[in-house]
């Protein structure tokens, strides 16, 4: 089994440091402990969901519906949490997430619809369900103080979102690189037919891929909900885009088979640093969206060029 190569991520980390240095020179406010902590906390929500999405994209599918799943989960946490307590609320949300993931997976596997078309449909349906469940309103959860722990609590002086992010990445990395599960996921992504012939139950792994993304979304939704203190059916409209951008920027190949979890983490840092810098510079949010969009396209083009180059090298070597 091929072991993880650090060089894949080095370029991205260099970019993060470069962008951060440039912004720090421009705006001295950037380089404070408070702001750096802030960047990491902001990163956590996207990064955690992106870890799940990395699994899905490794298996060759992706999930556009996670923004709607996020909205649905936040409403569930608020509704159930207010009645039966926070722990029940989060468990219910986790159950709902697994359910959504399985539904997505079943639609893709059983109805044989392309992942993006299938999740485009579930995106619409789940969004509708989320808004309906919240009766079109925001559900304030101010009297559920315990949830604050997930956004502003600390463990050993480290904010909880950051701890959660580290834990999620540690577990995912172990699962991705060192278990059968990760290996099968990669083989399903790189060649579905070959995987099927060699006896892997491909349908199961495709469904699990969607479940991974949905479960990642649970963690990030808990953090987001405790940050805004609302259950809301309209949050996360751009969430899917942010997460997919992060994963692609991190070097995970669109066609599947090859993922890079640390790349994903570094990419989410890069995006957060850019956003944070533009924010401190007083740039309008519209421009931020534009910049992120352009970075996304540029990353696609760049990654594609790199892969083509690698492919050519390989074929030349063969001749």
């Amino acid at each position: 089994m091929k072991r993880y190569k650090c060089s894949d991520t080095a370029g991205l980390l260099a970019a993060v440091i470069l962008v951060f240095t440039v912004f720090s020179c421009l705006y001295p406010n950037m380089l404070t402990l408070f702001n750096i902590k802030n960047i990491f906390v902001q990163v956590s929500t996207t990064a955690i969901a992106a870890a799940g999405m990395t699994f899905a994209m490794t298996a060759g599918v992706f999930d556009l519906s996670i923004g709607s799943i996020q909205a649905l989960l936040s409403v569930i946490i608020a509704q159930v949490g207010l009645q039966f307590g926070l722990a029940t609320g989060i468990s219910a949300a986790a159950a709902a997430a697994v359910f959504c993931g399985v539904i997505n997976g079943l639609v893709v596997v059983k109805l044989k619809i392309q992942a993006f078309a299938a999740t485009l449909v579930t995106m619409i349906i789940l969004r509708g369900a989320a808004v309906l469940l919240a009766h079109g309103k925001e559900i304030p959860i101010y009297n559920m103080g315990s949830i604050k722990f997930f956004s502003s609590g600390t463990i050993l002086e480290i904010p909880v979102p950051i701890v959660m992010m580290i834990l999620v990445y540690a577990v995912s990395f172990a699962a991705y690189e060192y278990t059968e599960f990760g290996m099968y996921m990669r083989s399903v992504g790189s060649n579905l037919k070959a995987a099927e012939i060699s006896g892997i139950c491909t349908g199961k792994y495709l469904i699990l891929a969607f479940v991974c993304t949905a479960v990642g979304t649970v963690f990030s939704t808990v953090i987001t909900t405790s940050q805004i203190m609302f259950g809301k059916g309209t949050i996360g409209e751009d969430f899917a885009m942010d997460v997919i951008t992060t994963v692609v920027l991190g070097g995970t190949v669109l066609t599947g088979g090859k993922g890079n979890l640390f790349g994903t983490l570094a990419a989410s840092l890069l995006i957060a640093v850019i956003k944070n810098g533009l924010n401190i510079g007083g740039m309008n949010t519209y421009y931020q969206q534009l910049v992120i969009g352009i970075v996304f396209i540029a990353a696609l083009v760049f990654n594609n060029g790199k892969n083509l180059h690698a492919f050519r090298k390989k074929t030349e070597g063969r001749e």
């Binding site: 349906i125 669109l254 519209y286 396209i297 594609n304």
Partner: protein, 329 residues
Amino acid sequence: MSGARKISWNKHMILLLLLIFWAAMIITNPAFRNVDNLLNILRESAFTGITALGMTYCIIMGDFDLSVGSMLALMAVVCVRLLNICNMWLAFILILILGVICGAFNGFIIAYLKISAFIVTLGTFYIFRAAAYIITDGKTVVYSDRFFMFLGNGSIMKMPVPFCVFVILAAAASVILRHSVYGRSVIGMGNSPKACEISGINTKFTKMSIFIILGGFTAVSAILTASRQASAGPGMAGNFHFDAITMVVLGGTSLAGGEGSIFNTVIAAVFYTSMSSCMNLYHIDTQWQRIFMGLVLLAAFSADLLKHAGGQMRRKRNLNNIGEKEETT
């Protein structure tokens, strides 16, 4: 050719559905029977339908464009902005050019840099939308010239103007698709890009041109939509790509590419609009409408799959019997 009759029935499934649906509604609901209501459905079907024509080309070739909604918002706000400062016809020409540029941008990255259309247009989805917000600073822009509003709201001999435009464009698109070398090569691209390349078709350019055409159609949609509302906001048409894709898929165009019909897309556009109009008549909540439309799209995707599976089986049988591939028409 024992399967010929069966295929043609499959092909006109959506027309049958529309007729049954209209018959049922006309009998049961007096508000639906109203001629104004029926004409209004035709009018509303045109705004998304025109883009769906371009999308049909795109899906026949096996690609998608998710950015059309954002493109429409961008062009609508630019259009209204331009109308406030220059001549109307000049503004329209400039918008068409903008549509072509937006489409070419998508198409160039997809065709020449070989990146999957879905992911590129997901990126431009956000870029165009952000551009629309930047241009208007997040505000809605207004223009209410009488002739401009006539384009979206007026009628020529009882027929709504947008629907006339829709029909003319559909006829042109259909003729080009069926009877020109270009159209045949588009269908060929959907069946096998490799075979097309070997037989000397400039596949990259053909691919890019599809996105340019789609950009042009979206520009027409944008002008008509802006005229209908006499205004344009950067947040408009949020679910536009979803509606357009649903129409095309409902029209029986295969997601796998290689087959499809403009005529069916027109019928599907009318069908889709009739359904949402009906749900409004019965005062169904918007969110339920969205869920319902999602289920309709899911059904359409699955129907496409079933048909495809059937087609493959038939093809296999034909291969066994005759030993040559059945020509798709």
